[in-house]
């Protein structure tokens, strides 16, 4: 187990800047998820940690060792590829034992360790097969076993669940969580699936265009997104955003001409913005329905089982609202919406960065 430190990593491919100034400190035994849309540089960061790419600038530390110039094999890590990258010409046993052989582990010890990790991943009865004879879920397990068998300090995973069907993905997600608890290696996990990120990560680093936008616990990221991008990337449906003006006299907010008291935590930030405008964000489940000063009309009702999802049009915005499943509302109904003060998240109207709270 070891901590990982990334120091202002830069990486470009020709004209494309894939990673810009990424610095992260990942604690020993921590499960960190790199989350972001396609092409934001998640895989590149992971490959930089693995040593499969060399950074143009910056350093990589693993367990207090500067490994920036070390080849992948000398960094003491295991990696699970998105395609699993199992060696098709070797049986499962030889796939799993590969890392042990490279380390010169004796045959008897190889068998023992492979058996051990095979039981951990429930692939013990597949050891004689070739990868082509396995299902997607089994291949995934073999890939994880192959990475884990060398007991690496660091486990790197690049979208390991993205090739599985929805049900299996749910199952394997829980399995990976269990595995991490049992093995305890420092894990960096790449995904573009926000639910996966929230459920797996001790902390989540949200990336956008090669930069880390926010690095925090899932709850913190969900409740206090660092900017509009994070708010709209996490959550299904994403956060709602309203244009608001700040009253020049008392610093209260005006949304669609309706006055709202400003949350006390933002008092200082708003004091400098009197007469200006801000962005008001609120999660769909926090918008109150039935009573409130905003007038709107229900456009669509989507019953999702545990909740109903409303699409409501107000004077200037389209708002997503989550309500209880027994709420009797239909398309065309007029509704009143309230924006509870405690759940409002304010952001700068231009930079779209969250305003500081006290």
């Amino acid at each position: 187990m070891a901590e990982i430190r990334l120091e202002s990593l830069h990486k470009r491919f020709g004209r494309v800047v894939a990673v810009r100034d990424v610095s992260l400190e990942i604690r020993e035994g921590e499960f960190v998820v790199l989350l972001g849309p396609s092409g934001c540089g998640k895989t590149t960061v992971l490959r930089l940690i693995a040593g499969l790419e060399t950074p143009d600038r910056g350093r990589v530390w693993i367990g207090g060792r500067d490994v920036t110039r070390l080849p992948p094999g000398r960094r003491d890590l295991g990696m699970v590829f998105q395609s699993y990258a199992l060696f098709p010409h070797m049986r499962v046993f030889d796939n799993v034992a590969f890392g042990l052989r490279m380390r010169g582990v004796g045959a008897a010890e190889q068998r023992r360790r492979v058996q051990e990790v095979a039981e951990l991943l429930q692939i013990a009865d597949l050891l004689d097969r070739y990868p082509a004879q396995l299902s997607g879920g089994q291949r995934q397990r073999v890939a994880v076993a192959r990475a884990l068998v060398v007991r690496p300090q660091v486990l790197l995973m690049d979208e390991p669940l993205s090739n599985l069907d929805a049900l299996l993905r749910l199952h394997m997600r829980a399995e990976l969580k269990r595995l991490h608890r049992e093995v305890g290696s420092t894990t960096v996990y790449v995904t573009h699936d926000q639910v996966e990120a929230m459920s797996l990560g001790d902390r989540v680093a949200v990336l956008r265009e090669g930069q880390v936008v926010q690095f925090d616990t899932p709850t913190q990221i969900y409740d206090h997104p660092a900017d509009r991008f994070v708010g709209s990337f996490l959550g299904n449906p994403p956060m709602n955003f309203f244009q608001a003006t700040v009253d020049p006299e008392d610093g209260s907010l005006r949304v669609e001409g309706v006055k709202f008291p400003a949350p006390a935590a933002y008092a200082e930030a708003l004091a400098e913005r009197r007469g200006g405008s801000v962005l008001v964000g609120i999660r769909p489940e926090h918008v109150s329905v039935g009573a409130g000063p905003l007038r709107g009309e229900v456009l669509v009702v989507e019953p999702l089982g545990a909740q109903k999802l409303l699409t409501v049009r107000t004077a200037h915005h389209v708002v997503k609202v989550a309500v209880g499943p027994d709420r009797a509302l239909r398309g065309g109904d007029p509704v009143a919406l309230g924006l509870p003060e405690a759940h409002l998240r304010l952001m700068d109207a231009h930079t779209e960065r969250a305003l500081p709270r006290r």
């Binding site: 094999g73 990696m79 890392g99």
Partner: protein, 269 residues
């Protein structure tokens, strides 16, 4: 069947006939007994078939020696071509470097240079270097002739092995060379074997350089050309020799045809 399809089949048939009919005629002539071959008028389909001509041809000492030479040259060519094309093909398939496209095109472009224009200078140079009339010299030329194709074939073979497999091996502790030897090479082996066989055929069938550069150490095609052109060998000898040359290539191509298709399919794209 649509008209379009009909046209397609007709064209394919015509093309096949274009290639196959001469081979068939040679085969027939080579297996016709000597007396029948010189009869006039000769029946289109011979009444009797026999291996007499072929076997007497194959028993000649010069033929046997030429056969051995051909095999040696082809073997040597395979070794030389592999030594050059494996690293070159690997580099083309794995690394992005400045001018990669140009290199790839340049390799093919060498094919556009007419070999006849090179003939005299080459012969002179080979005499000067002491390579003239040696099997190694012929193999050297055959290697040069085959490389443009073989490099591109080998590159496409390596491209067929995902780079991620090598990376996985490296992340598990293998060195770059180790990853190549343990993962890429075993997976590329069938494709590389096909490339080698392809090289073999190229060398086996090559006449021009072999004729030009040898006197005493002739390969089979060179021997045949020489005996026909310079010594006016009799008809039955020509037919037997022709069949002898065509057969191995035919058999090999038939065996590896699926490979060749995929190889060229990838390369030509």
């Amino acid at each position: 069947m649509t008209l379009r399809k009909l046209g397609l089949y007709a064209a394919a048939l015509l093309l096949s006939a274009w290639v196959l009919v001469p081979i068939l005629l040679i085969a027939l002539a080579a297996t016709t007994p000597r007396e029948d071959l010189y009869r006039w008028p000769r029946p289109l389909w011979p009444e009797r078939l026999s291996l007499e001509v072929l076997s007497s041809f194959a028993r000649q000492e010069a033929v046997l020696r030429a056969l051995g030479n051909s095999l040696a040259v082809a073997g040597l060519t395979i070794v030389l071509a592999t030594l050059v094309s494996a690293p070159a093909g690997y580099a083309l398939s794995r690394y992005r470097f400045r001018g990669r496209e140009a290199v790839q095109l340049g390799i093919l472009a060498t094919k556009m240079f007419p070999a006849t224009a090179l003939a005299v200078p080459l012969a002179v140079a080979f005499i000067r270097w002491g390579l003239y009339d040696t099997l190694f010299g012929v193999a050297l030329v055959h290697t040069a002739l085959s490389l443009p194709f073989v490099i591109l074939i080998v590159a496409s073979v390596f491209r067929g092995v995902p780079a991620e497999l090598e990376e996985a091996a490296m992340s598990l502790g293998a060195s770059r060379v180790g990853a190549f030897l343990r993962v890429t090479l075993p997976m590329a082996l069938p494709g590389l074997a096909a490339a080698a066989i392809f090289t073999f055929i190229l060398s086996w069938n090559e006449v021009f350089a072999a004729t030009l550069l040898t006197v005493n150490h002739r390969t089979l095609p060179a021997l045949l050309v020489h005996s026909v052109v310079a010594e006016g060998a009799p008809l039955h000898y020509r037919y037997a020799g022709g069949l002898f040359l065509v057969l191995p290539a035919l058999v090999i191509i038939f065996v590896i045809r699926r490979y060749l298709l995929t190889l060229w399919g990838v390369t030509v794209r």
